[in-house]
Subunit: 339 residues, 2 copies
Amino acid sequence: MLHVAEAARVSVATVSALINGTATVSPELSQRIEQAIRDIGYKRNAIARSLKMGTTRTIGLTVPHITNPFFTDVVSVIQQAFDRAGYAVMLCCTDEDLNTQDDQIRLLLDRMVDGLIVARVGDGAILKGIVDGANVPVVLLDRVCEGVDTDTVVLDNQRAVFDAITYLIHLGHRRIGYITGTSDISPMHDRMAGYRQALHAAGLPVAEELVRSGNFHEIDGYNATMQLLSSHDRPSAIFSANNPMVIGTMKAIRDIGLSCPQDISVACFDDFPWSDVFQPQLTTVAQPVQAIGEQAANLLLDRLAGNRDAPPRKLVLKGRLMIRNSCRPLGSMVQSVSA
Amino acid sequence: MLHVAEAARVSVATVSALINGTATVSPELSQRIEQAIRDIGYKRNAIARSLKMGTTRTIGLTVPHITNPFFTDVVSVIQQAFDRAGYAVMLCCTDEDLNTQDDQIRLLLDRMVDGLIVARVGDGAILKGIVDGANVPVVLLDRVCEGVDTDTVVLDNQRAVFDAITYLIHLGHRRIGYITGTSDISPMHDRMAGYRQALHAAGLPVAEELVRSGNFHEIDGYNATMQLLSSHDRPSAIFSANNPMVIGTMKAIRDIGLSCPQDISVACFDDFPWSDVFQPQLTTVAQPVQAIGEQAANLLLDRLAGNRDAPPRKLVLKGRLMIRNSCRPLGSMVQSVSA
DNA sequence: AACGCTAATCTAAACGTTTCGATCATGTCA
DNA sequence: TGACATGATCGAAACGTTTAGATTAGCGTT
């Protein structure tokens, strides 16, 4: 900016005033400054501005796995929303690891991001510190956080799984395998609660041997399904609480020589864009990812726009059971058709 | 840092020297400084450091659609590689729009990213400007760029499609529909060249009515397939050059009342993790996304480590034809089995 | 002519770090 | 004892912007 000021024979304050529109600059000087900017090809330095202003117009976004289609879509929606608002998005993937997450959040704060959207891992101690210290606004995504009083966008996971398991029970299934994630996070807790609640409402016992867990990867679903299917009294249906793992579930079923839904029904949490066109067409719980992403972005943009003192908001969205043909009724040899 | 210096009764230069290890500091003063850092809870300001040093330990990464499974996986690999190296990753999605890309690249340069990995849109003029001006190192991903002499990681798209179309011809297909992307990018050109080359090598004409294009979204594949299948002399196989569009292709086939592969064979570019377990099991061209992501990250990390003067490197990786059961031989009523 | 007001413009501090070069204390050698 | 070298430490400039407050010119009114 100094070169521009020299070339236009004004002070840097005048150049800054013109660029930012923070004070009147005479038409004559305006013209000279704009000409100098063009001649020199001047570009503002966002780093210097950030140092002075204390803001970066950058937000940090952390998700466990961006290859999980749910998070892929949510990241895409959030990135587009912030792009429209002129913000850069720093993306971090935690792989459900607490240390990785905490390091990444420190790295984001280190770079003075203006806000955070976090699908947290672990107890959220680091987030509590940020929120309590009023460092930057935080929006929690997908997972609530006990003791952290901040804006939150989640799904009614319990209700969503309740509906799905109830559907399976309605089809006649009584032994329903359940594959959960190992991470101690609220969606897994709530989904498990929905599973138990549906069984309890139907007067069915919760058989612990039907519940397996994995670390959210395809291979974990595979192994958990192998365990479930190798028991002598195997389930007639399997519900996977996470969509990378359901792919492993399907591979295990194939490798054992069973087929879905003839030999075993499968349902899972989170939809796929191809679920209604490839066989078997998975019965899934679909999350409104467009709404989740947009709401999360809007909550944070609202805070960034200055609305810091409003009480924290918690949006709880609803899942939608997509009934397709991967679950068949028991006690009937007729294959089910798509709803 | 000033508070730390005051508390330890040293100068800020001494504190900086201790933190950065750039000069010897006596054990006595070291102890006082470390104690002051703990007491105050001092955190370094990366913005101030960036202003002084001219680096940010941040890279910019632009891809067209992060919801395209190919880019999802590549982004994941790149993000993890840079996370291990202590870099933040700013993610931008261009939606194959030149203006969006150019704005985003300006925003990234504005924030003084140390390097760029770009799956470019358009003619790459902005990238040529950056590379020629030696602003920051640039790695081109997935798409070459005429006239831009910089590190590049691409696939041998032409060969990959050649192999896939040749496979279809070997199965007896003579009228092979082809769905390309509208964007003027090298992978689409090269894939089209592979399509033409395979037909030519088999002595088959390239029928322009069999080639349709779309803007990389599922609905575009749907519409293109509807057009292909509504002609009186419709193709017996369809190859989609982009995996979101193949989902649309499958939906169009279903909606028309046809089935794959009985009535029409389908193959596509880019694999899915679920392709070998849901029916029909898509015959696909798989890209080595782990290698692509790692190589792109390594090329840029190498530049960032100081190796600025080495001549630009171009890595051309190979696709792999995953023969599954979505393509059946013509002139035979026996359904094909997985290879 | 004098005074008051306002618009335009500028100076310089500030944001928080890094580090160059100056200074001082200490030790060694002739 | 004096000269010289070296280690430790510090002051202050620099990175590039923003803006508070000071200054000046011009205009209108009395």
